[in-house]
Subunit: 492 residues, 2 copies
């Protein structure tokens, strides 16, 4: 099953692509740049959605749904945002097909059915949503407006990779409106923290929380906050963003409210999102050369039972025991699969469930039954141990907890080992080539220097971390003064 | 709040539109034919989704996600399906916008960024999914393949109505593949039954289960099963469809499997779907001139508490009691809202929650507290009664159960009263004009007669019900023999 999975050390990129396909997460479709998310991959995404959705609701947000299409004139209203996305917009120009007179059985676009105004397929929904908020907001009593949408978006990408960069992807986009700048900034930071909480406690991915440089800001935002994780190849991956929009969209769409003093003011806005890109982060952060390593909290199957048997009566006895254990585990909310296929051998099954990243595998044979034990293997460390069947549901519950923690700690240790302070440009380049990871360096704060470093090294400023201490220094390239280090890395 | 809601008896259609908007379910957007689903409406849709999704999973289906876009050549592969949807396809022809040289600050479609092949925005996903299944299915061991997708689809409609007919709508579409025709038919019928179960036990909408006539079949299907409900104006509404696709898509996309005997065969398929149209059915089946009447199982808020007070200390005492009751109710999984706004009077609140269809309203004043009682009003019958606070959580739990049943029974009684057998065309027309509803009449089985009746009366054959007994008769129009009655109605 996992035979022939490329090794990370040999070709990380190929390893990733093959793993995503072979583990049944996703595949390329017959539509350029668009992927098919397969059932096993979608089951993980559903788990992510459920957890995030609960977090959004706990922080006071409601879901809604806005149109897929945005008329061009509406799209271009906020100029910076429009300019930022113009180059990757899919555009609907016609609304009908007809039989092709020159080609029997084929269709062509009906030239008579041209739209008066072209429709942009949403690359992000600020425009359509703020054009709607105009009608929803009159008074301070209508604020804050805290809305989220689960949706598909389209950004036409020339070079795509499964989950990480696809023409169509799934995401959630929060869009909130507030009476004051302070409240909007607080919301922006709150959602950044929600994302960091999710990344660390569910994805098991330690993240750096920070602010983007102006160069890397969301088009139309005054500030973009982000969480950045480090993948096993030393590249950074932006796992979520939260934008303080100021009054930009309120001005573009004329969204005003009467404040408590009876004066008209423009509304303050935020937007924030995470996408199916998180699936890529999940794979790249933890998996190994045998396959996926899923954190138990996001694993569609947390425990798989594999019977070891020769005779039918052996299988019957094992099945009876497993049914009993399965029930006890499920009563604890643990998802269990019993792989009793008689068409495959145990070794094949072991490899398959390793490939699919199931956190715990329990093998039970006739000898185990006699002894009242089972062979329990954890996916993360590959350790095996013989455990008592009596009370196994409790042992496994604790084990799943330990695995979740261990995966996080391993990723944290990796990040710590691959985050270095650097004070010269020479060293900066050497680190990037020899032991890539996060590089903390001084930067003079200019877009020119940032641009130059990007061109010369392909490293970008991932963020100015929120928790970086002030520290006097000089820019490693220009020698100009700097008051704090920023996070550089090559990135996905 | 509900002031000025039009009356059903005066203008049913206007009543519906106004109710959908004022209750906060949905509104028209700035995009032709596309709606915005507002938070309260979306919360109901989420409840529907959750219930249906659980039902699909219990019957062995997994979710996945397939691309929004379908290349034209792929779309046209199954000719009947393509022909059926060609006239309502939104088509993407370009993938980039650019600055308009003639119009500063505006964008235009970049003429250089024309797609080599146009992309159809999915009106339904058989084509893209079967083109994918070709790679997933080789052997009988890969079957059955039981997949569902939650997605948005686009069908360009000239005349749209909120929820009932919109250019973009949300739905789920199941797409399954099977080794035999029998198994595929069984799946088709199973999903019809799942839909009927959902309609009757959650939407509280009694439905007729049946088969469509060839005229009304899904384009590309061999048989279309459907559930049909009756709205309060006597019009029918198709609430869900389940299609037996035969081998049509397998042939169009060359999807074959090796059977147990080692021979290659085409795969058998089904597809089935329900959409945000169900929201329209929900509104039209049960609501009244004061607003929505929501079945408790789908109500985002099941119980609303309204404090009746003059002084702050009265409010404080009531709030304390409500907090206690709220906790007990929520422990039973009942969703509760406490409307303690001090900006609105009780009468305004009562009207607002009536408009929003909250099944149970509990008003508590200082006198109630003294007596240990509360005034409980049910939304469906508008009955009020004084109930003991002691054990109120149990009383309300039972009450919600009764309301769910009562709403269903009322709709069932309405349908029974508005389903008539008719044996002459004269009577048929008179019934449709004077007391519209389901009309059971004999039909000679020809598309010509069906078409003629449709043109002359606007009534269509909703379905040949699965449970209609055989009964010799003659077609009311042509006098030709018929062996069973069919369901006619004017429909949404
Ligand atoms: Zn960052
Ligand atoms: Zn029918």
């Amino acid at each position: 099953m996992s035979k022939g999975l490329p090794k990370r050390s040999e070709d990380y990129s190929l390893w990733y692509n093959e793993l995503v396909k072979r583990a049944g997460l996703a595949e390329n479709s017959g539509v350029r740049g668009c992927m098919v998310i397969k059932p096993y991959g979608y089951a993980i995404w559903e788990k992510m959605q459920r957890v995030l959705d609960d977090m959004f609701k706990k922080t006071g947000h409601s879901n809604a749904y806005f149109p897929l299409f945005i008329p061009k004139s509406m799209f271009e209203a906020e100029e910076k945002n429009a300019e930022g996305f113009a180059k990757e917009c899919a555009v609907v120009t016609h609304y009908r097909l007809q039989n092709d007179p020159d080609n029997k059985g084929k269709l062509r676009v009906d030239p008579e059915a041209r739209l008066e105004e072209e429709l942009v397929v949403r690359p992000t929904s600020e425009a359509i949503i703020w054009s709607t908020y105009k009608n929803w907001i009159q008074s301070y009593r209508d604020l804050p407006l805290l809305i989220n949408q689960w949706a598909n978006v389209v950004r036409w990408e020339m070079r795509t990779r499964l989950f990480l960069r696809t023409a169509e992807f799934l995401w959630q986009e929060g869009h909130t409106a507030h009476a004051t700048a302070e409240e909007a900034v607080a919301e922006t930071v709150q959602m950044l923290n929600v994302y960091a909480d999710f990344a660390e406690n569910y994805l098991a991915l330690p993240v750096v929380k920070g602010v983007k440089t102006p160069n890397e800001r969301f088009a139309g935002a005054l500030d973009t906050y982000c969480i950045e994780g480090l993948m096993q190849d030393g590249k950074a991956l932006q796992a979520g963003t939260s934008h303080f929009l100021g009054q930009n969209f309120a001005q573009a769409f004329d969204v005003k409210f009467t404040n408590k003093e009876g004066k008209l003011e423009h509304v303050w806005g935020t937007s924030w999102g995470v996408s199916t890109r998180l699936m890529g982060a999940l794979v790249m952060a933890h998996s190994d050369d045998e396959g996926l390593v899923l954190p138990p909290k996001l694993a569609p199957i947390q425990v798989v039972f594999v019977p070891i048997f020769r005779k039918d009566e052996e299988l019957a006895q094992i099945s009876e025991k497993v049914a009993e254990l399965k029930q006890k585990l499920e009563a604890k909310g643990i998802s269990v699969k019993y792989d009793d296929r008689d068409t495959e051998r145990p070794g094949f099954k072991f490899a398959e469930w390793e490939l699919k990243g199931v956190p715990v595998r329990v093998a039970i044979g006739p000898r185990d039954l006699e002894n009242g034990t089972a062979e329990v293997a954890r996916r993360d460390t590959k350790e095996k141990q013989s455990l008592q069947l009596e009370g196994l549901e409790n042992t496994l519950e604790n084990l799943l907890h330990d695995i979740q923690e261990n995966i996080y700690n391993k990723a944290l240790q990796f990040r710590q080992e691959n985050t270095v302070k650097v004070d010269s440009y020479e060293e900066f380049k050497r680190v990037l080539d020899e032991k890539p990871g996060f590089v903390l360096a001084h930067w003079d704060g200019t877009p020119e220097t940032e641009e130059r470093i990007k061109e010369e090294t392909k490293a970008t400023i991932r963020c100015i971390a929120l928790d970086t201490p002030e520290e006097a220094g000089v820019d490693m390239v220009t020698g100009k003064p700097s008051s704090r280090r920023v996070y550089f890395a090559r990135a996905y």
